[in-house]
């Protein structure tokens, strides 16, 4: 991802009020990790599994620190149960920052990524998780603020799916 776009993404998270990020690193958006770490407004927690990222961020959110989870699209599959029982059934606001691999606009798409990419939105729909696809930096900050407002309003997870220019 372009360095300026990575910077805008992290600034956008901070300005939207996110103060906690758990993550499992991946390829497409990884430039945000050192920026998150360098910004003292974020508590940044690396994990071993995306399900764990969801449960840890759920605890942070219920403890009063607006929380996000950052992972590849595969993380939605891996953490689907925790997204359901913590995010939906218990009702915990959290922002999902998802590298939308395997999508049509994914610039690194291949036979390896396409299948999970194709099923990602149907999976989010089946979980009734509100989501927005971001292809480029147009109105990035507005979309991030809107997603955070939505997660607070419904007290459930909301997903931002990054593809296109974010996957360079």
């Amino acid at each position: 991802m372009d360095a300026e776009l990575a910077k805008r993404l992290v600034t956008g998270l901070r300005e939207a009020g996110i103060g906690f990020v758990s993550y499992l690193p991946e390829t497409r958006l990884s430039e945000i990790v050192p920026l998150l770490r360098a910004d003292s407004s974020f508590m940044v927690v690396p994990v071993a599994n995306e399900s764990e990222a969801v449960s840890i961020s759920a605890g942070a959110s219920l403890g009063g620190r607006p929380a996000a989870v950052y992972f590849e699209g595969s993380g939605v599959y891996v953490s689907a149960y925790n997204l359901l029982v913590l995010g939906k059934r218990l009702g915990v606001p959290m922002l999902l920052i998802v590298a939308y691999y395997g999508s049509i606009l994914d610039k690194r798409n291949s036979h390896i990524y396409a299948a999970p990419g194709i099923h990602l939105i149907p999976l989010l729909q089946s979980l009734e998780i509100q989501h927005v696809v971001l292809e480029d930096g147009a109105r990035l900050e507005d979309k991030m603020k809107g997603a955070v407002k939505m997660m607070h309003a419904i007290k459930q997870p909301v997903a931002l799916l990054f593809t296109g220019e974010f996957t360079v």
């Binding site: 906690f20 449960s55 840890i56 759920a58 605890g59 403890g63 009063g64 009702g91 407002k149």
Partner: protein, 199 residues
């Protein structure tokens, strides 16, 4: 050693600590023995420890207690390397290990009935104060120390399989109500707003 005896010992010692629990008999039993506003009983296998870790990180001045079971922890062993590296000093983890999936009602043995030693796994992940207790006196000693000290503690409690919780009425509170009770308690005791109407 019975889980209920351990709970009877713990309950009067819970004042302003936050208690995160998982599922099944331990949820019903703990809610009955200790109906504390700071309980967050998530009613799910494999999630309680992670939620407790998140709470302990953002509320470092509060003691957080996780009530886990062998089945729930085995489902989420990925928590242990993370926990060993984060090492939150305000977190105490109790794993009530009856060595069976008792909720199945056929008492299918769990891995801990065989060769798996959860305290050894925890130590190998960097949780230095990880012990196994097999009798009530040892439990009382380890629990007292863990609750008094500011050190990450991981206590595997070998317990009998019991069915006493099946005689206890299930909580009628639904999970959103339960969450709001917990959050309002935190807002009151922390003096800050947690749930925002808007971002």
């Amino acid at each position: 050693m019975k889980r209920s005896d351990c709970y009877e010992f713990l309950a009067p010692r819970v004042t302003d600590q936050l208690v995160v629990g998982s599922l099944s008999g331990q949820r019903v039993e703990w809610a009955h023995v200790c109906p504390h506003e700071g309980n967050l009983l998530v009613a799910s296998m494999g999630a309680a420890l992670g939620v407790a870790v998140g709470l302990s990180l953002v509320l470092p001045h509060r003691k957080v207690i996780a009530l886990e079971s062998d089945g729930s922890l085995l489902l989420s062993l990925y928590n242990l390397p993370t926990l060993g590296n984060l090492n939150p000093p305000n977190l105490t983890v109790f794993v009530f290990d009856n060595e069976v999936y008792s909720g199945t009602r056929i008492s299918e043995p769990s891995a801990t009935s065989g060769n798996t030693d959860l305290a050894a796994v925890a130590r190998a992940c960097g949780i230095s104060r990880a012990v196994t207790v097999r009798d009530l006196e040892s439990f009382k000693r380890e629990a007292t120390e863990a609750l008094e000290q500011r050190t990450l503690s991981f206590i595997v409690c070998k317990i009998e399989q019991t069915t006493g919780h099946r005689q206890i009425p299930r909580p009628t509170e639904d999970l959103w109500e339960h969450k709001y009770r917990f959050v309002r308690y935190l807002e009151k005791t922390e003096g800050k707003q947690i749930f925002l109407g808007r971002g």
